[in-house]
């Protein structure tokens, strides 16, 4: 027995990409193993830990709970797409470094992606950044086993500050 494979075209980090994969291929595995974007991590494969979070058309989703074929023709942003085109770190990434918001780094890509959307939405609503309560709520879909979340919370506020300092273009679309 062998499986049918499908051509899957989508946009990843602003670049049109395509690869062939079977219907049951998870988006997380497709990104990691078919497109070679191993920055997206897989920590539980049942949608709880948040390590595999990516933006799908700008909204955070668990890439382990979605088939790659379902992402056809959509726009996906992964951690690799959060920096500048010159390879520099984006504001959320810089904030995480400044605040020591990562240790082993395994959960970090999921947090970075989720926080990017969180801060963006707060700013889009005309505010300087998310409130403390919104920060806790906004990252409460991501598990971290190393940091006790203390410095991640700080980093989210810092990311909002950095985006405010540098303006929207540095805040990066998506």
């Amino acid at each position: 027995m062998s499986e049918d494979v499908y051509e899957i075209r989508l946009t990843v980090n602003g670049v049109p990409r395509s690869a062939r994969a079977p219907a049951r291929r998870l988006l997380s595995d497709f990104l990691r193993h078919d497109l070679g974007l191993t920055g997206t991590h897989v920590g539980c494969e049942h949608g709880v830990c948040g390590c595999c979070t990516v933006l799908l058309d700008g909204a955070p989703v668990r890439s382990c709970l979605m088939f790659a074929v379902s992402a056809r023709a959509h726009e996906v942003t992964t951690v690799e797409g959060l920096g500048g085109p010159d390879g520099s770190l984006g504001p959320v990434q810089r904030a995480f470094q400044e605040c020591h918001a990562l240790q082993c780094g395994f959960c970090t890509p999921g947090f970075l992606v989720a926080v990017t959307a969180l801060v963006r939405d707060a700013r889009a609503a005309g505010r300087a950044g998310p409130t403390e309560e919104e920060v806790l709520e906004g990252i409460s879909g991501n598990l971290c086993r190393c940091t006790g979340y203390q410095n991640i919370v700080k980093a989210v506020h810092r990311a909002a500050d950095l985006m405010a300092e540098h303006g929207a273009e540095d805040g990066g679309e998506p």
């Binding site: 049942h46 240790q103 082993c104 780094g105 006790g148 979340y149």
Partner: protein
């Protein structure tokens, strides 16, 4: 002057790569490798009668299926018993694949290799294993009852029995003015790193070697284990720990069955093979920790000073004992904490159950010991009607009493002698941070509003930096780059930063010139591993000593080149110069060139070191007899015994009068790990530890049913806390240097987790007025405790009555 580096809160140098998604974790490697998957036992205890692979044979992509019968000599042997101890009279280990019998759910029974992980898992589902289920032993009470046995040849399910004592504790208890007797329980939990285990093996048929990547806490020892199992000289085996997504103890165990099997299969097949554990596998086939039942007898005087402490406890070590009895040994020794007790006796029985093996998880037996001692302190305070902090204070070892010999043997086989500490100051500090003295007023005011607040406190001492040794190698190249390597591994502790700080400070080089490699046997092959809060102490000091050797050599060569006395030289910003005359100087990179006499000028710098360029003043050989070429230093640090870090935590909790939900309003930590290399990183370690402690106090447990099924083997049911469950943590630091090592440092990795269950239990008890003797505690359990307290089934605090051990 060179910027001071030791002690500075500099940003981590590993971060840019990890933040950009350019980390290299195990499953990021080996694109195109064959995939391994495992058939695991669904039974806690069963005979394997038959394994039928018929249905699997037609699957496209199948490469191989292996069962125990397929394994050759050595690979088929039982897994090693890593830490033999004379008290472990009935040590038992499993086989890489079940040899006729399985003893816990999750034990590997067959291995599948296929072209793709999805296909490998399909095949696992098609393999039919016929089991004959046997009665399972689950839980400490069933284990000690021994109506059923986990191993036929282990009577009473007893793996080990050990007594340590100082003085005559039973007598001291019996003759003390006051006596108490009670039982305490702590349930299972587990390290649960977000990255599971994983192995990727790359055989090289042309020279018979193999390179193995493993998500491990000890690459050097995995290398020796694989070499032994595959019958290879160690020189044919390289083991590399790539970026590791958390360890917390579970990855110090080795060789895991998968480390041997994946390496062996890769060689047999002549193909790269990779296995990455999934979350359910991690729950049922990696290690757990914590489960103990403790029976305490304590005798004390009117001031609350402990005159005798007699502790008997039962420890659940799961189905096998590959890591020996380190956890209960640590419990029984570290239980003493910062206190001097008159006479002490600790007796433990370590028991087999049909559950996942128990090996160290961050804290490694200390949380249990501290829970026991700190609950005891609270009981004494309550009995005497004294302040809980005051009773602790009455028992403290005083600053002038160091080194303090507890009279026991620690986990490293060395005497339990504390090196340094300042417990009274730590207590004062934590009391101030949490608002201890003002709390009763606050509590009363809250009570008037119908709110239930409670405050808790706990102290601990943590033996850190156990031997036997670590090493460090430092090399300056002709571009002025400083390459540092040490054999132990990293799982997020920031070794790439703190070790670079040590090197920058010791050598006087810019930190940007320093690159650090850990856990790669190609670079450094002698090491022990990363556990027991030992990396900074062991490798940090070894690297400092290696730097000092290198520095001495650099000054000697520079002295010759500058015609100056080495004693008059200093190194600043990577330049060796005469003190007070900075123009007489030579860059370290040039010294590196001169340190390696050359015949061939392979680049421009090398010209200076060739035979006709070097000044020939004497008749000696170009490389003197007692010297080596190159600007390098290598040294080892092997401590006589452990360093002892310490700390105190305090918390204020609020308990919902209706739902019994516990909310932590304030959490304060005072922590003393000697001189800090990087306070930001130390604080991060403390934060993470406290969060794991809170997890273990209020949320996480391993819920086994009576047949040995782990009912909560997923993140849906095993409640790892999110940011919403962890309060803001306030930290304060003391720095009492260790006199035992050149840098004066102690370990910090495990500290945060150790006293948390004790603190939270103390605070809930204070809020509720109901005895808390079992952790973790859920709202549901607290709710029913309240009900039982109403009917008198559970004691309220302040009711003086001696408990009896069953």
């Amino acid at each position: 002057m060179t910027t001071r580096m030791f002690g500075e809160p500099i940003q981590r140098r590993e971060d840019p790569r990890l933040l950009a998604g350019r980390g290299r974790y195990l499953d990021d490697l080996g694109h195109g490798a064959l995939a391994a998957a495992f058939v695991r036992s669904p039974h806690a205890h069963a005979r394997v009668l038959d394994i039928d692979v018929t249905d699997a044979l037609d699957v496209d992509g199948l490469v191989a299926i292996y069962t125990y019968e397929d394994l050759p000599e050595r690979v088929a042997d039982p897994l090693p018993l890593l830490i033999p101890h004379p008290a472990l009279t009935h040590g038992r280990t499993g086989y890489p694949l079940a040899n006729g019998i399985v003893r816990h759910v999750g034990e590997p029974v067959a291995m599948v290799v296929a072209t793709d992980p999805y296909v490998a898992e399909d095949i696992v589902d098609l393999i039919q294993v016929n089991f004959e289920p046997l009665p399972a032993v689950v839980g400490i009470e069933n284990a000690v009852r021994a109506e059923r046995l986990v191993h036929d040849d282990v009577p009473g399910n007893v793996g080990a029995h050990l007594v340590q004592e100082v003085g005559d504790a039973p007598l001291a208890v019996d003759t003390a003015p006051h006596r108490l007797e009670f039982r305490l329980d702590i349930e299972r939990s587990a390290s649960t790193p977000l990255e599971g285990r994983g192995v990727y093996a790359r055989p090289d048929a042309s020279d018979g070697s193999i390179r193995v990547y493993s998500s491990t806490q000890t690459s050097t020892s995995v290398r020796f284990a694989i070499a032994a199992k595959l019958g290879l000289p160690a020189t044919k085996v390289e083991v590399i720990a790539p970026d590791v997504g958390g360890g917390f103890g579970v990855k110090i165990v080795h060789p895991w069955p998968e480390e041997i099997l994946v390496s062996w299969a890769a060689r047999v097949l002549g193909r790269e093979v990779k296995w990455a554990e999934d979350r359910r596998e991690h729950f049922v086939s990696s290690a757990h920790e914590r489960g103990q039942v403790q029976f305490v007898r304590v005798g004390f005087d009117d001031e609350g000073r402990v005159l005798g402490l007699d502790v008997r406890f039962l420890h659940d070590h799961g189905a096998y004992t590959p890591y020996g009895i380190i956890v209960p040994i640590i419990t029984s020794t570290q239980l003493l904490g910062p206190y001097k007790v008159g006479a002490y006796r600790a007796e433990f029985t370590s028991l087999y159950t049909n559950t996942v093996i128990v090996t160290p998880y961050r804290g490694a037996g200390r949380p249990q010991g501290v829970f026991c001692m700190e609950r005891t302190m609270d009981r004494i305070a309550e009995h005497l009607g004294r302040d809980r902090a005051e009773v602790r204070s009455a028992n403290f070892i005083q600053p002038h009493e160091f080194p303090y010999d507890q009279g026991l043997v620690f986990q490293d086989g060395r005497p339990l002698i504390y090196d340094s500490g300042n417990y009274p100051e730590a207590l004062e500090k934590v009391k101030e941070m949490i608002g201890w003295d003002e709390f009763p007023g606050r509590q009363e005011k809250a009570a008037a509003q119908g709110r239930r607040l409670g405050i808790g406190l706990a102290c601990y001492v943590e033996g850190t930096g156990v031997g036997p040794y670590e090493g460090g190698h430092v090399q300056v190249d002709s571009a002025g780059r400083v390459h540092v390597s040490t054999g132990l591994t990293s799982q997020g502790q920031g070794h790439g930063t703190v070790f670079a700080q040590i090197v920058a400070e010791e050598l006087g080089v810019p930190i940007d010139a320093v690159e650090v490699t850990t856990g790669d046997t190609r670079r450094f092959s002698y090491a022990v591993g990363t556990f027991a809060s030992r990396a900074a102490v062991l490798s940090g000091n070894a690297i400092a000593l290696a730097c000092r050797r290198l520095r001495e050599k650099a000054l000697r060569i520079a002295g010759e080149a500058l015609e100056a006395d080495p004693g008059d030289l200093e190194i600043v910003d990577g330049i060796v110069r005469v003190v007070g005359n900075p123009r007489t100087a030579i860059p370290l990179r040039t010294v590196a060139v001169l340190a390696n006499p050359l015949r061939y000028a392979f680049d421009e710098e090398a010209v200076r070191a060739t035979q006709f360029a070097r000044s020939s003043g004497d008749d000696g050989p170009p490389v003197p007899e007692d010297d080596e070429p190159g600007l390098e230093g290598r040294d080892y640090y092997s401590p006589v015994r452990s360093t002892f870090a310490s700390g105190m935590h305090a918390a204020v909790v609020e308990v919902d009068p209706d739902t019994a939900e516990v909310r932590i309003l304030r959490y304060a930590v005072v922590h003393d790990c000697g001189r800090m290399i990087n306070p930001t990183i130390v604080e991060g370690q403390v934060h993470g530890g406290v969060a794991q402690g809170i997890a273990g106090a209020l949320y996480e447990r391993m819920a086994y049913d009576e047949s040995g099924q782990l009912l909560n083997a997923s993140f849906m049911d095993f409640l790892m806390p999110y940011a919403t469950e962890i309060p803001r943590i306030t930290t304060g630091h003391l720095e009492t240097p260790s006199p035992l090592n050149p840098l004066g440092i102690k370990g910090a990795g495990e500290a945060g987790v150790i006293p948390v269950s004790a603190v939270i239990a103390s605070a809930i008890e204070d809020a509720e007025g109901i005895r808390i003797a079992r952790m973790p505690i859920s709202p549901d359990e607290l709710f029913w405790l309240r009900r039982r307290a109403e009917t008198g089934e559970v004691e309220r605090t302040g009711v003086v009555k001696s408990d009896r051990a069953p």
